[in-house]
Symmetry: C2
Subunit: 451 residues, 2 copies
Amino acid sequence: MDSADLLIIGGTLVTMDANSRVLEDGAIAISEGSIVAIGARSHIESQYHALKTIDATGSLVLPGLINGHAHAAMSLFRGFADDHTLDDWLQKYIFPAEAQNVTEDFVEWGTRLSIVEMIRGGITTYADMYYFEDAVARVTKEAGMRGILGETIVDFPAPDHRTPAAALEYAQRFINKWRDDPLITPAVAPHSIYTLSEANLQAACALARRNGVPILIHIAEAPFETAHSRSRHGLSPVAYLQRIGLLGPDVVGAHCVWVDSADIAALGHFDVGSVHNPSSNMKLAAGVMPVVDMLAAGNRLGLATDGAASNNSQDLFDEMDLAAKLQKVARMDPRALPAKQALEMATIRGAHALHMEKEIGSLEDGKRADLILVDTTGPHATPMYNVYSQLVYALKGSDVKTVVIDGKLVMENRRLLTLNEKEIIQKAHQYQKKVVALHSVPAMSSPERFL
Amino acid sequence: MDSADLLIIGGTLVTMDANSRVLEDGAIAISEGSIVAIGARSHIESQYHALKTIDATGSLVLPGLINGHAHAAMSLFRGFADDHTLDDWLQKYIFPAEAQNVTEDFVEWGTRLSIVEMIRGGITTYADMYYFEDAVARVTKEAGMRGILGETIVDFPAPDHRTPAAALEYAQRFINKWRDDPLITPAVAPHSIYTLSEANLQAACALARRNGVPILIHIAEAPFETAHSRSRHGLSPVAYLQRIGLLGPDVVGAHCVWVDSADIAALGHFDVGSVHNPSSNMKLAAGVMPVVDMLAAGNRLGLATDGAASNNSQDLFDEMDLAAKLQKVARMDPRALPAKQALEMATIRGAHALHMEKEIGSLEDGKRADLILVDTTGPHATPMYNVYSQLVYALKGSDVKTVVIDGKLVMENRRLLTLNEKEIIQKAHQYQKKVVALHSVPAMSSPERFL
C-alpha cells in the first residue's frame, strides 16, 4: 500500500480531461498537493491508504472552478449603484466611492468576503485586478486559495498610488515578494487602453515581461472603448494592443466583447487568453462576446464573474448557465455553446486562458489537487440524465459541498475551514455603514433609495 | 388584544404595494388565510396575540413569488434532451418521451417534485399547463400551494385523451370538481395556434368562457410559430387570436416573444396577461420578449420558469436576474428593466398577469397571506445597499427560509411541512430509470452520453 494525504472515494468523477472521462464510483488519491492517482474506487482503495478519506457518494467530483477575472475587494460595493449607464456607474458612483473608501484594510476585508463567496461556490482559482494587491495576496494565501493577482496600474491617482510610476514600483516589490509562492502568481494589471497612456501601457508590459509574470488587462469591453480606440488610434482595441507590442502568451484579456474576425485571429496568433463575463456584460449592457466564434478559432477562453459591483455575485455556476443561454439566444441557435463547453470554460479552458493548463483545470495524475464535490441529491438536481446539463443548467453554487485546493481542505460539508466567516460579515457591515454615511445613500425605508 | 392565527415579527417588509413601501422592523398579522394587519412591529405586537409567531429578523419579507407559466410534471424530464434545435427537441425527444412515459402517476410525482423545488425557491402560486390536470390539482392542494391549473388541449392524441373532444370533456369535469376551491383555479389550456385547429381553439375558448375560468395558451413563442401564422392566416399570432375572438381579460399568454407594436396594443386593449420566460426563451433560442416596450404600453406582464425540460430549474430568483440582464444587453441599455421592475414581474405584476391582483402579489391588508422570508445574512448577500438589487442580482432561491401560503406554513427554516421530499426524490429516480430504459439513453460513463 502507498500512502496518500487525502483520498476522495466514491461519487462520479467528471474529469474534464482530453477524453472527457466520466467515472462512476471513482476515487482520487492526493499527496503533497498533487493528484497522484485517479481511477476506479476499487483500484485506488486497494492501492492507497490515507490519514483522511472523504466519501463523495451522491456527489459529482470536478476540477475546482477557475474565475478568470475579478475585483474581489469590490464585494463591499455589492449593489451600491445598479441600473445606471456604464459611464454614470463608473464616473458618478464607483470611481468616487473607491477614491473615498478604498484602503488597505478595505481591500483585505472585501477580498476575504469574496473569497468566502467564491469557495462556497466551488471556485478554487481566481484572477484579480485591484489595488493593494499585496494585501489581496496575503488574505488569498491565508484562505488557501489559488490566485493570479494583478496590481492595477492607471494614469490617475489610485487608492494605493498617486502616479503610475509609483504603481510600477509597488508592482515590482509585490512581484519580488510573491514570485515563488505555490498558491499566488503575482501579475501586473494595466487597467485598459482608455485609462493608460501608450507609454504607461508599455512600461507596465515591460515590467511584467522583465519579471516573467502575467499581464491582466480589460480588452474591448464596451462600445465606448472601441470608439475611443478607433478615434484615437484608427484601430480596434486588439489591433492597437498588437501595434504597441502588448499581445503575447502572457496576456489575459478580460471581456473581449468587441472583437472582429481579425481581432480573434490576432488573439489566437499571440496566444492571448480571453475571459468571458456574461453577467457583467449583460448587466452593464456591454455587449455579447462572440464566444462561439472564438472557440471555433481555437482561442484560449475562460469564464469569470467580474467584480461584485457589476454582477452582483461571485458564482461561476450562474456564469456557466448564463454563458450557454446568452450564446444561444444571441445566435438564435439552441445548439450554440452546449453545456459541456460552458463547463470547460469554467475548468480546463479557464486554465488555458490563464496559461495554467499544465497545473490545473482537470482531474488528472500530476496536476495540482484543486477539486470540488457537488451534491446532486437535491430536488432541483433530480433526476439527472446528463452530468453536463445538470451542472450548467440545474445545479447551483450552493450545491458545492466540499472544496480542496492544492491538496488541502478549505470547505468540508459547507463548513469553511480557513476563514472566519462571521467576523468577515461583521466587518462588511461596518464598511457598509461607512460607505452609506460618506455617500449619503438614503435610508432603507426611503422610497428614493430604491428607484 | 385581537387574536391572529400567525404573526410575522421583525425583518424588513418589502410590500410591493402601490407606494412601494419598505418597512424596517415591521410585522404582519394573519387570520383565516388573510393579512389582517401590516405595519410597524411595535404597533402590531401591541394589538395582536397569536398561537404562532415567526421571528423574521435578518430576513426580507416579501409577497410569495408568482410563477406564471409551468409544466410542473416535466421535472421528470429535466436535462433529458438539451442543446438541440427546438424542432428536434420537441419532435425527436419531448413528444415521444411524453407519449411513452406520461401517465397519471407520472404527473403526480413530477408535479410534486416541481412543487418541492418551487416552494424551496419562494414560489407560492403557479400557473400550469399539462395533462391529467386533475392529478396536478390534487397534489397542488395537498402541498398547500396556490395553482391556476389548465388542462391542455391539443389536436393530436395526448397522454390523457385521444381526441380534443375527449380533452374538452375531461376539462369540463375538472372544472366542475375544482371551481370553488380556495387554492385551485381550474383553467383550460389550448396549447397553441400551431397544435390546434381554429375550431378546436374556439371550442376550448368557449368552454372556458361558459365556465368563467381562465384560458392559458402559448403565444408567439418562437419564429416558427410566427411563420406558421403568417403563411396560414396572413396574420401575426396575436392578430390571428384576435380575429378568432380568443383574446380577452381571461387569457394568460405564455412567452409573447414575437409581438410587434400592434400586437402589444391588442394585448393591452383586450387586457390579456403575458408571461415572460427568460431562461426557456434563451435556452431554446426562442428570442427576446420586448418586455420594456410592453411595460411602457401598460400591459399585464408576469414572469415564469416554463417547464424543467426547457430551463432546467423552477427558480424565479434566477428568472428575475435573467429578465433584468437580458433586457439590458438586448437593448444595450443598463437602465432597462431595473431590479425593482423585475421583482414586480415576479410579484404584483405577476398577479396582474394572472388577473389575480385583488387577492395576491403584494403585502397588504385584506390580501391572501402568501408570503416568504428571505434570509439576508449570507456572505453573498452582504453588504446590502438596496433591497431590490439584492433580491434580483445577489440573493438566490436557496436563501428562501420560510414560506406561508394562504396563511399556512408550508416551509419553515428550509424544512418542508406538507411534502415528503425523500419519497418524491426516490420516485423521481424510479421514473428516471424507466425513461432511460425506454429511450436507450447511454450509460453515465459513456462519452456519447454527454455530447
